[in-house]
Symmetry: C2
Subunit: 205 residues, 2 copies
DNA sequence: ACTTAAGGACAACAACTGTTTGTTAGGGAT
DNA sequence: ATCCCTAACAAACAGTTGTTGTCCTTAAGT
């Protein structure tokens, strides 16, 4: 299951092709230092090759960035879709989705968490491609939220932005050892579902 | 009121000192392109001087970054403190604080919105200084949240992170013309206060 | 065993990075 | 009228950036 990732397209590849390792190294460093602060030489060094050699696999740094980012959306989309497959209740679906979202972000895969980085300050050409990729994932949450029984005066888009804001912002403060990703996601969904009113109406569960 | 900003410390300055313009140009570009993608020459050009000349005002790029960032925390702290001064009710105080927060972010000052940029991927030396500055602002919200009547099973820290996550994430999607900063802030506070339960218990106000 | 292309090493590129240097025009106080 | 210091210019610094071309090695197909 590890040797067919992302070679969906075509072409003959040798068994010692290191495209995957390259992407993993890139994702790791992008997370650690950000896109700009990570040089092609840094990535190559971590992957055990020279900078110029990477241009066999990726025509430019931007293409490498896009590839890792899209791998991130692919993985997290897969996880969320799987998590809500058999759930019917709209609120439950949202909760399971949020939990899968968080567990994927902090579950060891270095790709999905790239989605949490703010891309609004990157170069326009690159940004457009990344936004495109993320939008397809966001629409998944949009559907979940529009399935909720909402008060008429609440904009579902604003609601999605609030939830995803809370969840994604966690990438800047989450550290293993405290609350688990599952706990965090469950609380954040509970917040927008029940609020914090201590009137005893909602103190159960 | 515009000529005494940030010259609180000491020293004789000439009336044509352009430190302020320099900081404004820097903040503008930092917001637009991010720290790394903004070169000293870019900033100097926007301010109408040469790169080397900036080193009279700031000993390094990091110092310039820190100065603009701290100006941002100063301004937003001022706005929030002012907004909650005469409010007593804990929930009202939180709401007014969130509203002041958002209005300052998008109110035209180019400094405060720097607080919304994710700094977890910047160079460690710089990051420490920025975190220090932001923590002092965050503690303001921590106090507001700890004053709320909270259920025992809700971690106030997690609550603060959820709210500030929602609010700050808006810097990546907010555009004038849609919902106002005030509306957005009010909704986000209402969410964690009442939730979205459509059981009619909380549909008043 | 031979051929071919995949995969990568290596060196060099021009452009750009933050920073430093030496120097100078001019405002402010004496 | 003098002198100091602010504020900026202009040019250069050494290092790093993404990228490219050329060359070599090696795995796979026949």
């Amino acid at each position: 299951m590890a040797n067919s990732i992302d070679k969906a397209e075509d072409g003959p590849y040798r068994s010692d092709n290191r495209r995957q390792e390259l992407m993993a190294s890139a994702a790791h460093l992008f997370n650690q230092r950000g896109y700009d602060a990570t040089s092609m030489r840094d990535i190559a060094k971590e992957a055990g090759m020279l900078a110029g050699s990477m241009y066999y696999h990726f025509p430019s740094k931007d293409d490498l960035i896009i590839a890792t980012y899209e791998e991130g959306t692919r993985l997290i989309t897969e996880a969320v879709v799987e998590a809500i497959r058999d759930i019917q209740d709209p609120w439950d679906r949202l909760e399971k989705a949020a939990i899968a979202h968080m567990n994927t972000l902090f579950g060891g895969n270095n790709f999905s968490i790239l989605l949490c980085a703010d891309i609004s300050r990157t170069a326009p050409t690159l940004r457009i491609r990344l936004i495109e990729s993320r939008d397809s994932y966001d629409s998944l949450f949009m559907d979940l939220i529009e399935s909720l029984p909402l008060p008429a005066d609440v904009d579902p888009t604003l609601l999605r932005l609030s939830l995803l804001g809370s969840l994604n912002w966690s990438s800047s403060w989450y550290r293993p050892g405290g609350h688990s990703p599952t706990q965090i996601a469950a609380l954040f969904v509970r917040l927008i579902r029940e609020g914090l009113s201590t009137t005893d109406f909602h103190s159960t569960q």
